[in-house]
Amino acid sequence: MQGLVRAVRRFGCTNIQRRFASTLVIAEHNNSALNAITRSAVTAASKLGGDIDLLVAGNNCDKVVEEAAKISGVKRVLKASAPHLERRLAEELEALILQTHNANKYTHILAASSACTKSVLPRVAAKLDVNQISEVIAIESEDTFVRPIYAGNALATVQSSDTVKVMTTRATSFDKAEMSGSASIEEISSAAVGLTEWKSEELSKSDRPELTAANVIVAGGRGLKSSENFQMLYKFADKMGAAVGASRAAVDAGYMPNDAQIGQTGKVVAPDLYFAIGISGAIQHLAGMKDSKTIVAINKDPDAPIFQVSDVGLVDDLFNVVPTMTEEIKK
């Protein structure tokens, strides 16, 4: 197959070449652990057919590479480990991805949507002079994709005739690939670009599950009235083994850090169980959670729009309800 592809390329027979899909998936990780959204990206890639290469770019990321090689469906893991890749800066990753693409001529370049991939893939697409397709939620064929627009209030089916399809996929829309594979590992390298310098980071520390990966999410809104009152949600969340999220109103009011925001411009989640507590349910918030399997809404306003999407609603004062629920679960 490799030889054939090479021969096809040599003779410039693009029509035949096009039939062999091959996808480069960009892994999401923090140099010590693979982020599970990578596995959802591999599932998305597997729907395109053809070989899947997984690019792990970082520094001292051997553990991640090991984990990545176990993802079912991945043929090769391309390991790029270097100090200039440690922080996964867009300018550095762009150069590496372009170089990897030039060497392998992929038909698709894909990654689960994250702050990192959203920063870099449009750069790659622009250099390849192709469009990028953001937040794909369904793959209909190798060139036809479905994506939400207008905060998820419409679904657009788009068809791309670009030579390379560059896209981000929504992690909550694709199952995580199994971990029973055994991909080969190849080392690659790239020169540093050096346009930006990483200075520091300030990460929110929490023992609770990560928001985008949690099975249960307890989210609070303006109705919580203060950051102290969020302690009440934490207690309930801990009982449920849940992650804690927030509406934009709660974030803007300073009750919760920005990275806890769920919605059109924050994180998109789809847990099995979502508690919307003191959240009215603005369009922008619904965009980030309405694919949750079961939505529970607790709000004292019976006209709150959240009740139009909730499976179970309770019209009551959250300050009575949340402590009682926490108690009930203890039993």
Binding site: R123, D252, N258, K267
Partner: protein
């Protein structure tokens, strides 16, 4: 220093959009339109940098039909100095927009380009990154704080786990996150003054940019609607419901 700010006219964020019956898109006729909220934040940031004496001139650019002029006027009323309207009636993809902005930037020679992180209609989150890449510039996406000392810029970015601080040299592209600032309202005197400010017009042909796209929208449909569930009377009933579904 000179700043170029890209602004987009979109359906107002508070409007519940309606998908057209023929599946060709969403209804925009007779619908309230406004400046994209992230673009407002970009304009505000540029105006604040001007008020600090760091920026001398702000050029607001919008690409779109005749009505995009209103969006430019809004930016002028907020404090931009002059406008540039790239006339085009069809919906363009971010790649084409980035190429057009690059052509404008090559004429105007800005030291920085400020854009919103995403437009709330197409939700692409691409244009700033594409523009930075085409210009060969560094990018500061999802910025929540911008500090300038000469040509050295320090930017705090919103990332998945928290915040990240990057340093880079101008020229650069900045895309704004919600937390960067609180945009001002244009006052009536400033709206009147904005009417006298200059808006130059151009189009993709004059800028020498091919805006044709290989991405086609086949159809636009309503998302599946959720069936609203029942309202329970008290916590005990709520817990019973969840137990019934084996969720707790």
């Amino acid at each position: 220093m000179r700043a170029l700010v890209g602004v987009k006219r979109v359906i107002d964020y508070a409007v519940k959009v309606r998908v057209k019956g023929d599946g060709s898109g969403v209804e925009t006729a007779g619908v309230k339109m406004s400046m994209n909220p992230f673009c407002e934040i970009a304009v505000e940031e540029a105006v604040r940098l001007k008020e600090k004496g760091i920026i001398k001139e702000i050029i607001a650019v919008s690409i779109g039909p005749a009505q995009a002029q209103e969006t430019i006027r809004t930016a002028l009323a907020m404090g931009a100095d002059r406008g540039m309207h790239v006339k085009h009636d069809d919906i363009l993809q971010p790649l084409a927009i980035a190429k057009l902005l690059k052509a404008v930037a090559e004429k105007e020679k800005p030291d920085m380009i400020l854009l919103g992180k995403q437009a709330i209609d197409d939700d692409c989150n691409q244009t700033g990154q594409m523009l930075a890449s085409l210009m060969g510039w560094p990018q500061a996406t999802f910025a929540s704080k911008v500090d300038l000392a000469g040509k050295d810029m320090t930017v705090v970015r919103e990332i998945d786990g928290g915040l990240e601080t990057l340093g880079m040299k101008l020229p650069a592209v900045i895309t704004t996150d919600l937390r960067l600032n609180e945009p001002r309202y244009a006052t009536l005197p400033n709206i009147m003054k904005a009417k006298k400010k200059q808006i130059d017009a151009t189009d993709p042909a004059q800028l020498g940019v091919d805006v044709s796209s290989k991405l086609q929208t086949l159809k636009v449909v309503e998302p599946p609607t959720r069936q609203a569930g029942g309202i329970v009377a008290n916590v005990q009933e709520l817990m019973a419901k969840l137990k019934e579904k084996s969720l707790i």
